[in-house]
Amino acid sequence: MPDDANRNVPKSHRFRKQGFSFERLIRYFFASNAGLTIVILVLIIVFLLKEGLGFFPGYRRELETYRIAGLEFVDISRKNLTAHEQLVSLLNRAYYAEINGRSYQQLRRSEEAAALFNAYTDQTGPTKELILNSTQEGQEAQPAMLAVLRENYEKQRAKALANLPATPHLSAKEREEIISALRTRTPQATDDPALVTRLAEELASTQARHAEPLQAFRATIDSFESASADLGSAIMEMTESVTSTKEALQNADILEKDRRTLLAAANNVDDPAEREKLLAEAKAALAEKPDTETPMASLMERKPDCIRLHEELAKSSAAILPQLPKSLAQGEADRLLRTAKKAWPVFLSDLSAAPAKISSWTHTTPVPLSAAVVSFLTGRDWITGGEWQDFYGILPLATGSLMIALVALTIAIPVGIGSAIYVNQFASPREQAIVKPVIEFIQAIPSVVLGFIGILVFGTVLRELSVMDSLQWVPGFPIEERLNIFTAGCLLALMSIPTIFSLAEDALNNVPSAYAEASEALGASGIQTTFRVIIPAAFSGILAAVLLGLGRVIGETMVVLLVAGNRIKIPDFSAGFGVFFQPSHTLTGIIAQELGEVPLGSVHYRALFVVGILLFVVVLGINATAHRFVNRATK
């Protein structure tokens, strides 16, 4: 190159000297810019690690505080109390499901009548207020103005009456009665229409009638519910003492940090008076080590008490089980009752295991660093900013991300690859000229716009679909939340289709035309050629397309932040396919939602960076695999 070309020019020659230095400079300039990519990548890794790695020691310290302050001890009992509460809730729900199931007709009728009335008040509310206001303050209730207001009111009333909801459980006469009551209703009226009240009363009396035969069940539930009262109050008392210990520990940690900052500041100051001042402040900030032993000792004294309470609860719970009714008449009620009965032995065994756990627990067991790592990777709770204890468990977030990706790819793979095959193999040039730009354009839609569409349009449409009677066979319908895994998955599918489409189409394009020609020469039909020759030849390219689509779905933020529902919980897989209609949270979403809000350098802040590292590693892994496939395809 230039250096070689200039070899014959004498060393001292002006031409060479100039060319040499200037050209070299330019070359280095360009090379340094190319090196910038490496610098950026290294910076990304370094800073993610710098902020993230501090997480594990910090989290370990938090877990240690959790143990030393005795929160962990309280949680042993708390867990059983929560289980007890869940059982009570199950029984309660069974009880009410039984009553409501028996009074189904009255329930629906009362509900529909109320819905009619609500629709009316909603529509006419503002204009009604206006009339009331003008007559109330009525220093000068001008008749002309009042007439205008009344006219508006009538207009709204007519509009409301034209758009009333359907009432399949009310007879035509009853509906007419309510409507006529509404038609003549004055703006000043405050009581409900007569029929609405009557139906509500009817419902109440039916419910009371059906509650009669269940009195024994009610009494059983009540006695079960009160069985944990002592344990509950014991936990309350312990909670108070341990939280104050924890606060003292945390404050000491903060003061210690302050002291160090002040000392560091003092070291940097030259002015002796200023340094004296800072040193004095540092000395004042020297926290005495908070006393954890005394409260801990009194907590340990409670051990026998706790064990006794657990045993009592176990005894009374075991006695309750045979008192429960064998079965209930209503399907839903019976299901709940059976669930409760199934959970009972687990609950009892947990209770009987508790005393051993309580007596063997000590606050002196050290918390190793590995505990923090394990708790992060396998923790089922991501609880932050709470009053009790923060936990950073990645599982609920990772499950959410994976399930959304699963939904998205289930839709996007067949559609994306199918249309790539169609466009590449069968479509006329004119069709290609329509389809390709459209898909390219979908790719250009910013993700926040898709999220916007999801939150304002798609979610609502999905909920409306899910309550339609003709669609009740779909598992999970009717859905509880309009923002859920499925909603997010559908929108992400739309995002990843263009990626999968264009990459798969490229892969199909790269198959040498000789393959197709040979196949056709042997008499294969178009479909045979496509599916037996072209697709196998392009297979690894298509696989790469799918993987890159996966990478895009996992790394996408705005859609899932807006549309996934943000419930930090591992979805309930016992719901079958309905699990896809539950809300969830994601790895990307949690960073976007919480990073702006956490104090710099806190454990929570670092936890988000660790999530970022995880994302980085996972997505790069997926992409690297994809590129390996691409390379294989082009070889």
């Binding site: 200037f22 090379a31 206006l130 839609i445 304002l456 976007a592 710099l600 997505v619």
Partner: protein, 375 residues
């Protein structure tokens, strides 16, 4: 008798129906996407058009595009007429109608006025980041296409480009936050406590302090530039390589140096291609939300970035509103009702039109360049 006719299969071949079925199934999925895309746009256009169209000439509601973002006040006056006024108009109204009672007053944040702030913010972010990325990206591409030989360095560069291209945008957000917002050096007389490193200069009280640029236009541009750098490099390298080798050979043969060759014989011919593909990068930059959430964007700002600044560079260190972040705020923070619809769908429509125009222009230009430049 030998009848050649017999050898020719008559009628439809075996499996014809299957073939047609498969074909139409594939066609079905393809047109399903097209249909969904069309439905989406129709919905947004139908709901958003009232916000940005007006019945009078020039048929575009300029106010929505040029007014600042404000709170929307909705109220009835004593005559029962409903008013929808942005905050500044509202305070004028109240001043004019003193002593009158207003009824059923409701307020909707971010829904009044227009979206000038977000549009300007997005434009600044886009221009800034594209300029940065073009400068560094094209230089890097020149090195890769014109100078580079096989070497470990080049291998590492290519690997870095490939990896950078795959990093999720939220990770770029984290990176931008921890580097540009919190760690890059600034020249200051009053270093912050969180500074990583302070290098005192001998001039006055000044020191270089690694304390970051805070959440600012600058930090946002830098983050976005890092994100699209790989796109720009790849596209530019492709355009540079598309220039025939003969051009370079001819120039070198005439005694031109390598730099002269690049400047006079390669860059001019590849520039259209580079600029076209950078248009695509613009659409991506304009649409990204996650990287600017923590580095540049702010939900409410009542002035345009350049207003009320003591010096012209202050614009770089101020936070800006941005269209995608504004849409996020509109979707997540305010209720959807008949009064907020204008702001919500209007902003989305404006944003989509912007992105669509950019991508259509880039598509057309790309097609033209392909047709025109054939060596």
């Amino acid at each position: 008798m030998f009848d050649p006719e017999k050898l020719i299969r008559k009628g439809r071949p075996k499996g014809h129906i299957k073939e047609v079925l498969i074909r139409s199934l594939l066609a079905g999925t393809t047109y399903l996407i097209v249909l969904i895309a069309v439905l989406l746009f129709t919905r947004i256009i139908v709901d958003g058009a009232p916000a940005i169209l007006s019945p009078k000439f020039p048929f575009v509601d300029l106010e929505f595009l040029t007014a600042k973002n404000e709170t929307l006040h909705v109220f009835d006056d004593a005559q029962g007429t409903r008013h929808q006024l942005a905050a500044s108009a509202y305070s004028r109204y109240v001043a004019e109608h003193q002593g009158e009672n207003l009824y059923n007053e409701q307020t909707f944040s971010y829904s009044g006025g227009g979206i000038a702030g977000p549009i300007v913010g997005t434009a600044l972010l886009t221009i800034g980041s594209i300029l940065l990325a073009l400068f560094f990206g094209v230089s890097a591409a020149i090195y890769l296409a014109e100078y580079a030989k096989q070497s470990p360095f080049i291998h590492a560069v290519r690997l870095a480009i490939l990896n950078l291209a795959g990093i999720p945008s939220i990770v770029f957000g984290l990176f931008g936050f921890s580097v540009f917002v919190l760690a890059v050096p600034v020249l200051t007389s009053d270093p912050s406590d969180r500074s990583l490193l302070v290098i005192p200069l001998m001039i006055g009280n000044y020191a270089i302090s690694f304390q970051g640029w805070n959440s600012s236009l600058m930090a946002g541009c830098a983050t976005l530039a890092c994100m699209i750098l790989p796109v720009i490099i790849t596209a530019s390298e492709e355009s540079l390589r598309a220039v025939p080798q003969g051009f370079r050979d001819a120039s070198l043969a005439m005694g031109g140096t390598r730099w002269q060759t690049i400047r006079k014989c390669v860059l001019p011919y590849s520039l259209p291609g580079i600029l076209t593909s950078s248009l695509l990068a613009i659409t991506r930059v304009a649409g990204e939300t996650a990287p600017i959430m923590f580095t540049a964007a702010v939900a409410a700002k009542d002035d345009l970035p350049w207003e009320g600044l003591s010096n012209p560079f202050g614009i770089l260190s101020s936070q800006v509103q941005a269209l995608p972040y504004h849409i996020y705020t509109l979707a997540a923070r305010i209720p959807s009702s008949e009064y907020t619809q204008r702001a919500q769908y209007g902003s989305v429509l404006v944003f989509l039109i912007l992105v669509a125009t950019l991508s259509i222009v880039s598509m057309v230009l790309r097609a033209r360049i392909r047709r025109k430049l054939k060596w």
